[in-house]
């Protein structure tokens, strides 16, 4: 009866056709406000010759359609979601409520400044808090996501080097454990990347780093804690070496949750850091986005911040649209302000008195999971982890079980799998990030499931692992077929 220990069951799951397959005549058009006329005759010559063929369902059918779809999803509100480097924490409901206040949600970005002092104030306040928490001197809210922040940060680094007469520096050093966005962002900036091989402990190897430090180096992009979940304890020396070589240090803040309120990247010598507010500051990930990727900078990079940005003049908030040394704009507007409303509310709830508990409980939870699993799963890098822990499938391989099988089996037991096959520096990676909003009960249940899976491997009882998942509305999906002849739109 082991399955009853876990939350996943086979409840009623409704199949739901594509809305294009709901065959009936278009329902009566919904009543719409406004000037109840037709477009002027001058537009006649430009009218569509064929209808778009958007099917249109009645309101009750629309609601049922999308509610059924929603029920096929696993979200953080549904259950445990230990995706490494993704920081899937509880998204407070009050943040949703306040972000929807009409005075925040229905404000046009080009309203006169005196009509938006309230929202400018909230954004300005958040700028200060994020700067303080990360330990830098200023920040831009413009980047729309982490990768966008990387691009923005590298643009600033490029401009800073150019201002120093160092146009020739184009080499960006990236550890082999880095997120794929790092090299992709560098390429967009007209720079090229050189991968630094991690040391035996999964950290940056200082001797290896030194080999690459020459007159071509523009920057080092690093994530700390790194994607193996361990802290780069040589951080001060790393930054010093890069600076001595004439380069700058870019911080990927995807893993900031390990440090909030406990330590500040800006104090460690980094020149800038992007912050994934949809991770660390709990704005919902929405099935892919929206996020926000503000970039905090030190005095070296501050002159190059993008415009527009908010400044305070006495009691009045102003939007600065031009600045001599600025890299310019990376977005149409000030940023994803709706996302920032939620981040402001989140930090408000913690204040200076509780903010460090985010990192404390996140790190406690990850180490607890590690300690419960380390005897049955291979741990590639010994020692403390930070907010996430890295395991591999090495010991399960000899029973013919791979990371993917373990991940899919977890689904049948009611858990979202961990991040799989990342970082790339170990074979069969399983990166587990429990976050601070999970109870001990949930962590224990997850660890029990992982131990049970390992025991099934040892017992040679692996069929359920290979068959998994069997409980969701769909079983393993054929990704090869999808990519070979892509069908990306429905043909009636």
């Amino acid at each position: 009866m082991s399955d009853t220990k876990y939350s996943a069951t086979s409840g009623i799951q409704q199949e739901e056709r594509l809305l294009f397959e709901h065959a009936h005549e278009a329902p009566e058009s919904i009543s719409l406000p406004g000037v109840q006329g037709k477009a002027p005759s001058s537009l006649d010559a430009f009218k569509r010759k064929t209808a778009a063929n958007i099917p249109g369902l009645s309101e009750p059918e629309t609601v049922r359609h999308f509610v059924r779809l929603s029920q096929w999803n696993h979200g953080i509100e549904t259950g445990f979601y230990p995706l490494g480097s993704c920081t899937m924490k509880y998204n407070p409901r009050v943040n949703e409520q306040v972000a929807r206040l009409p005075g925040l949600a229905h404000v046009h970005p080009d309203q006169p400044e005196d009509s938006v002092q309230g929202i400018l104030g909230l954004l300005y306040e958040l700028q200060g808090w994020l700067t303080e928490i990360s330990g830098f001197t200023d920040i831009t809210l413009q980047p729309a996501a982490g990768a966008h922040g990387e691009l923005t940060g590298l643009m600033m680094i490029r401009k800073c080097l150019d201002a120093r007469g160092e146009q020739a520096r184009k080499k960006v050093l990236v550890p082999d454990s880095a997120h794929g966005t790092n090299p992709a962002s560098a390429a967009l900036c007209g720079m090229y990347t050189v991968e630094i091989k991690s040391g035996a402990d999964g950290r940056i190897d200082l001797d290896e780093l030194k080999k690459h430090l020459d007159d071509d180096v523009a920057a080092l992009m690093m994530t700390n804690p790194n994607t193996a979940g361990t802290f780069e304890s040589d951080i001060k020396e790393i930054c010093q070496l890069v600076h001595d070589a004439g380069g700058l240090v870019y911080g990927d803040g995807a893993n900031l949750n390990a440090l909030v309120g406990v330590a500040r990247p800006g104090d460690m010598g980094l020149d800038c850091l992007h912050i994934n507010v949809h991770k660390t500051f709990s704005t919902p990930h929405g099935g892919g986005g929206p996020g926000a990727g503000p970039v905090a900078v030190n005095d070296t990079l501050k002159p190059f911040l993008p415009v527009p940005r908010i400044e305070k003049d006495g009691d009045v908030f102003k939007v600065i649209t031009e600045d001599e040394q600025s890299i310019g704009s990376v977005l149409s507007t000030l940023g994803q302000t709706g996302v920032y409303m939620r981040a402001n509310a989140y930090i408000s709830a913690f204040g200076h008195n509780h903010i460090h508990k985010i990192a404390q409980d996140a790190v406690l939870n990850a180490n607890y999971v590690l300690s419960r699993l380390k005897d049955v799963y291979h741990v590639p890098f010994e020692g403390l982890c930070k907010h996430e822990c890295l395991l591999t499938d090495e010991w399960q391989n000899k029973h013919g079980v791979k990371t993917l099988d373990i991940a899919k089996r977890l689904i049948d037991l009611g858990f979202h799998p961990m991040t799989v096959y990342f970082p790339l520096i170990v074979h069969g990676a399983m990166l587990i990030e429990p976050t601070e909003t999970e109870s001990k009960e949930t962590l224990d249940s997850f660890c029990d499931a992982m131990l049970e899976i390992a025991a099934q491997c040892e017992a040679g009882d692996t069929q359920a692992l290979h068959d998994a998942p069997v409980k969701p509305i769909r079983r393993r999906l054929d990704e090869t077929q999808a990519a070979r002849k892509p069908v990306l739109v429905w043909q009636d």
């Binding site: 046009h108 967009l188 200076h352 892509p486």
Partner: protein, 448 residues
């Protein structure tokens, strides 16, 4: 702290089980000099939930918004109606609090919604395929320019001066560190003169980017541009800022666009002071392997049942790294679900009505303009440029309108720096009623 489930005894039990004395011992790998004194950050005291509501309510009350004014502002963001059902669907935790659908078996809801979104967006824009969103219209335009370079292996970008200045600025910024020319073709008449754009194209041109309807609201025939693109073997990129137009007027795809990009904010997404909005990215099927961003595709599961997955991932940064088609990772996924819900509620008929009402409102407004104010010539959808005798007259009107709870328009020079300070960019949607237009004109008559 209410978002943290552990009691102190939980924490202690966990530490005991690990043989660790105190939590901060778990941070021993961070050098002591970098430890922040706990509680020392310069942040305010924690607020209760009630305190948060109070704080945000107070801040929100300091703002004016489209609910307590009449909003004639456009320029890339439009006050269209957001049905309650759209907000309800995107508030559901299963959509709201899911990550990117990396585990498709337990993300079929997000994936099917994305597939439906892609299908409806492709149909609305007249294009063959759509991706699963970019951040917003400016970055989508920049990504289109980058994609055209990959497809054509050429490096010259030509863009019309009647493309939204913000889209141009971001596109130029994205291209400025890469090899190749970026050519802006000035457009002086508050409209688009395609012949000038065509003259600027040559055989080295990777793409030409125009906006339709353009930044000034002008609607024009793109047929000659398609011919010129064929002659120069370059891609035709069409940007747009209010996708609601294509409920009524001919789509970019019908004109033969290779790539069409723009804002989908009109599709049930609040203005939210500039974001999160929705960046639409569509193209021809034959270019799909050079397309940036995530895309959802149809497949089958182990039992042969139809299902959906993220596909063509070998284009993307987590596989291809520095050779990826884009660095984008997080996108605007939830906005796709919102737009899919919105389009389902509207259908063809609703979308056409929205477009009709939006255009009819502008037509009515222009027909009532008093002497001394001139609307730009040409065919318009829901946006145009009004020209006043002087900046003083224009600003007097803006202020008089404000006194009547009307945001009359965007002073053109605040977006288009080269514009004379006597123009006003004005936009209408189905949220503008006849009474609002009467009040608008009345304020104009008082001010002039």
């Amino acid at each position: 702290m209410r978002y943290l489930p552990h009691t102190d005894s939980d924490r202690q039990a966990m530490l005991d089980s690990m043989g660790v004395k105190q939590i901060m011992d778990l941070f021993a790998d961070i050098p002591g000099e970098f430890h922040t004194k706990l509680g020392s950050l310069d942040l305010p005291e924690a607020l209760s939930e009630a305190g948060i509501v109070k704080k945000f309510t107070k801040a929100a009350e300091k703002n004016r918004h489209a609910g307590n004014t009449r909003c004639f502002l456009g320029g890339g963001t439009y006050h269209h109606f957001v049905p309650a059902v759209v907000d309800y669907v995107v508030s559901r935790g299963e959509f709201l609090t899911a990550y990117t659908p990396y585990q498709p078996e337990i993300a079929q809801g997000t994936l099917q919604a994305l597939f439906e979104y892609q299908t409806m967006i492709a149909r609305l824009t007249g294009m063959e395929v759509s991706n699963a969103s970019m951040y917003e219209a400016a970055t989508a335009t920049a990504e289109a320019a980058l994609m055209a370079r990959r497809v054509t292996r050429k490096t010259r970008t030509v863009i019309a001066g009647s493309v939204n200045p913000r889209y141009r600025s971001v596109t130029e910024n994205y291209l400025s560190r890469l090899e190749g020319d970026y050519i802006e073709v000035p457009m002086g008449q508050h409209g688009t003169d395609l012949s000038q754009v065509i003259v600027a194209m040559d055989e080295q041109t990777a793409c030409v980017i125009v906006q339709y309807p353009d930044f000034y609201g002008s609607v024009y025939d793109l047929a000659s541009l398609r011919e010129a693109c064929d002659a120069n073997k370059c891609l035709m990129v069409v940007a747009f800022s209010d996708v609601s137009a294509f409920g009524l007027i001919e789509s970019p795809g019908a004109y033969g666009a290779d790539i069409a990009v723009g804002s989908g904010q009109a599709l049930g997404i609040p203005m939210a002071f500039g974001g999160p909005h929705l960046g639409i990215f569509t193209c021809k099927q034959k270019y799909v392997r050079q397309m940036p961003g995530r895309v959802c595709g149809l497949t089958t599961d182990a039992d042969g049942k139809r299902g959906f997955v993220l596909t063509l991932s070998t284009r993307e940064q987590h596989i291809r790294r520095e050779k990826a088609t884009s660095n984008i990772c997080s996108n605007q996924g939830l906005m796709c679900t919102a737009a899919a819900t919105y389009m389902t509620l509207m259908g063809d008929a609703g979308l056409e009505t929205i477009a009709n009402h939006s255009a009819a409102a502008l037509d009515l407004l222009v027909s009532k303009l008093p002497s001394g104010v001139v609307a730009a010539d040409g065919v318009r959808y829901n946006e145009t440029v009004l020209t006043f005798a002087s900046q003083e007259k224009r600003d007097a009107f803006i202020n008089e309108a404000r006194n009547n709870d009307i945001f009359a328009g965007i002073p053109l020079e605040t977006i288009e720096k080269s514009a004379e300070a006597k123009h006003l960019l004005v936009a209408t949607t189905e949220m503008i009623e006849e009474d609002d237009i009467n009040d608008y004109i009345a304020a104009m008559e008082v001010a002039l």
